[in-house]
Amino acid sequence: MMQNAKISTYQFLILVTLFTIGTSILIVPSGLAAKAKHDAWIVAIVGMVIGLVVIGLFCLIAQWFPHLTFIQMNEMILGKWLGKGVSLLFVFMSFIYASSLLFYSGTFLNTHLLPNTPMASLNILMAIIIVMGVHLGLETIARSAEIFILVFFVLFFFLVLFISPEVKFENVQPIFEAGTKTVIQSTFPFIEVTSVNAIVLLMFFPVNVNNRKQASKSFFIGYIIGGIVIIIFTFLSVSVLGAYSTAAEVFPSYELAKRINIGDFIQRIEALMAGLWIIALYFKTTIYFYASVLGIAQILNLKDYRPLIVPLGMIAAVLSLVIYPNVVYQQNWNQTTGIFLSFSIGVFLPLLLVAVYAIRKKQLKKAPESS
């Protein structure tokens, strides 16, 4: 039942794009501007290019066992118990991130749209549709992503179109003042949220993608599209708001929408534009949640993951309310622990797999046939 779902390469591409954009459009411009000032958009470009290497690593791993998810692959390569242990960490990470994203959406709505609504009810509402999506299965998520990406890009297009008169090039000049060292240093958080965390996509790539050869290509293209969207957002934030405001705002891209004013007629549309962030957040959270639910089911060798969805959704909603006491804690945690957690799961673990695979290559090649 888990393996039956098949999504097309195009649908996979869209999921990758939405995943890449995900939280990034909300928080990345601010984080980058804090360190690299008005060169934040250069950092985004550099980060995206480096991120491609990470994506390449994922594609490499995915090739070996195209019929296995990441969890099963871990067990296959690292052996049953070590594999399960590592997988547990992986599942733990994606589950933490799922609830962390719930927190993001709650905070975002609390700061900009519904300040007096308790975050619990916002998170629960969001969790309900996430649970609903995962319940309906990967195919349904992928199909609805196809529709929402249209909505997303229409909104995005209008946002860019409407905000472009406000662009002040003085705000990004002088170009490349930050210097190579700062640029490279500030890419790490960017790579973390856009590409390293994309390891959770290995839970359905390439297992559930109908054309495996094409899928790797989609992975790259989807990532690049998502990366470009973030670069545009970063550039616009810096050039419209200025480096200081971009760094100071919690959600600079929303502030961007507030600045839209075309002839005093098209203005005050930021609440409408909030749809953009909700869509991006929704799909990223759903993918994290799907990965963790499916992961738990596979670690425990369950036949079906569906019974776990509702209880796990409940736990995720509760966790989202307690994991970060406030936004400052969250920003601090992301910079210190989160980045290491992501890198150890998203970069070191794959590298470990590569190393072990290289050693056990012959032994493993026989294994799939016998099992």
Binding site: T117, S121, I124, I128, E170, Q173, Y244, K258
Partner: protein, 395 residues
């Protein structure tokens, strides 16, 4: 099964209520806000619309707006305290204009602006003005003609005068904050004055007169150093400032004719380019202003059909303009010592390395910056007539 669960959960969420719901008739829509410092306390004024008076149907003939005020240790506290007076919660989402008191501006506006940039409902696109020789309460108390809501009047006339005259400068909150935080540019804010009798101005009588007893006028530009007001620019200097910072949309300028008398040039387009350099370790700034305009009126005798006349007029204009701009820059360099033109930013853009060296003592450096002003006017047309009929008037 999902649907059932979904329904139950949604229902339970509904039952707990709608936290952020505010009906339109529970709002006190604040269009103008005033902040003043009174004896170590902030006094906040809110000019609130009375919707039923604005609409055609339910109007009873009383004033269209009402003013609430409160005092508090911080702006936010005062703002909330206003509910003691106002029956509805003050809704700041449509704030159009913020009037800062002169006293407050002299002491520093930074702290009072923080709330306005932090509050989620306030959009940072309202104009900020500073009172000159009056207080925010007097300004906000004045009733106005034509635009019956004073805040709208203030907003529109600032916008229009900037567009048509360039003798004022509209500064929105986000621009102001950007200027305040920039280390290469200082802030300016347009001043607002009350002309006439403020007592009658606050009553309905004021709008019943053809020429109101009191009216709100924009004049002068306040110059800031850091977040403190240090002085005022005259109207002429304000226009010069607008030219340098490239914020002139259209304007009008009197020039003297070669053989006495006056002519007016209507400026249709202006573009200025400020370039910074470090020459021999000294900062230097080139200002190139390209202006296009028409001859608006001719009040002297000259032959407009002559190509030379046009060129001559252009030259006169350029000379006079350069002189004014130089004078203005001089005032700021010598008198106020504050870089409102953003020369520092220009140098930063041109030479970030050198800038880092001088930025900490930019205040002193600014006074010694060599500024080269270059104005280039192109007269495109002479209006609907060529020569003035004044030529033909028989004595």
């Amino acid at each position: 099964m999902n649907k059932c669960l979904f329904a139950i959960l949604i229902l339970s969420l509904f039952l707990t209520g709608c936290w952020d719901r505010r009906e339109l008739n529970e709002l006190a829509i604040m269009l103008a806000m005033g902040v003043e410092k009174v004896e170590e306390e902030y006094q906040v004024f809110a000019q609130v619309v009375v919707p039923s008076e604005v609409s055609m149907k339910g109007s009873t003939g009383s004033t269209k707006v009402t003013l609430y005020s409160a005092k508090g240790e911080t702006v936010y506290e005062a703002f909330r305290k206003m509910t003691k007076d106002s029956p509805r919660k003050i809704y700041p989402g449509h704030l159009k204009i913020l009037v800062m008191g002169e006293e407050l501006a002299k002491e520093g506006i930074g702290e009072s602006l923080d709330l306005l940039s932090r509050d989620w409902e306030i959009r940072p696109d309202f104009y900020v003005v500073v009172t000159k020789d009056t207080s925010p309460s007097e300004i906000l108390n004045t009733t106005t003609n034509l635009e019956s809501i004073p805040a709208n009047k203030m907003f529109n006339s600032l916008q229009m005068s900037e567009k048509a005259w360039s003798g004022t400068k509209s500064i929105t909150l986000d621009e102001l904050i950007a200027d305040l935080i920039s280390d290469g540019k200082q802030a300016v804010i347009t001043g607002v004055q009350l002309i006439g009798n403020s007592k009658i101005g606050s009553s309905k009588k004021n709008v019943e007169m053809v020429s109101p007893a009191a009216s709100i006028q924009y004049d002068h530009l306040s110059v800031f150093k850091g977040d403190k007001l240090v002085g005022w620019l005259t109207e002429e200097e304000t226009i010069a400032y607008s030219y340098v910072t490239d914020s002139v949309k259209t304007s009008v300028r009197r020039i003297s004719c070669p053989e006495g008398g006056d002519a007016t040039i209507a400026i249709e387009k202006s573009h200025s380019d400020v370039k910074g350099y470090i020459r021999k370790g000294n900062p230097e700034v080139d200002i190139t202003i390209k202006v296009e305009g028409n001859i608006g009126s001719v009040e002297c005798k000259m032959d407009l059909n002559d190509l030379g006349t046009i060129a001559e007029l252009e030259k006169i204009y350029e000379k006079e303009k350069i002189a004014i701009i130089n004078k203005t820059i001089d005032t700021l360099q010598k008198k106020y010592k504050t870089d409102i033109f953003g020369f520092g930013e220009a140098i930063h853009r041109a030479n970030p390395k050198e800038w880092n060296k001088i930025k900490d003592h930019w205040e002193e450096e600014f006074s010694n910056v060599t500024v080269n002003v270059n104005v280039d006017l192109k007269i495109l047309s002479t209006g609907t007539v060529n020569n003035s009929f004044l030529e033909e008037i028989k004595d």
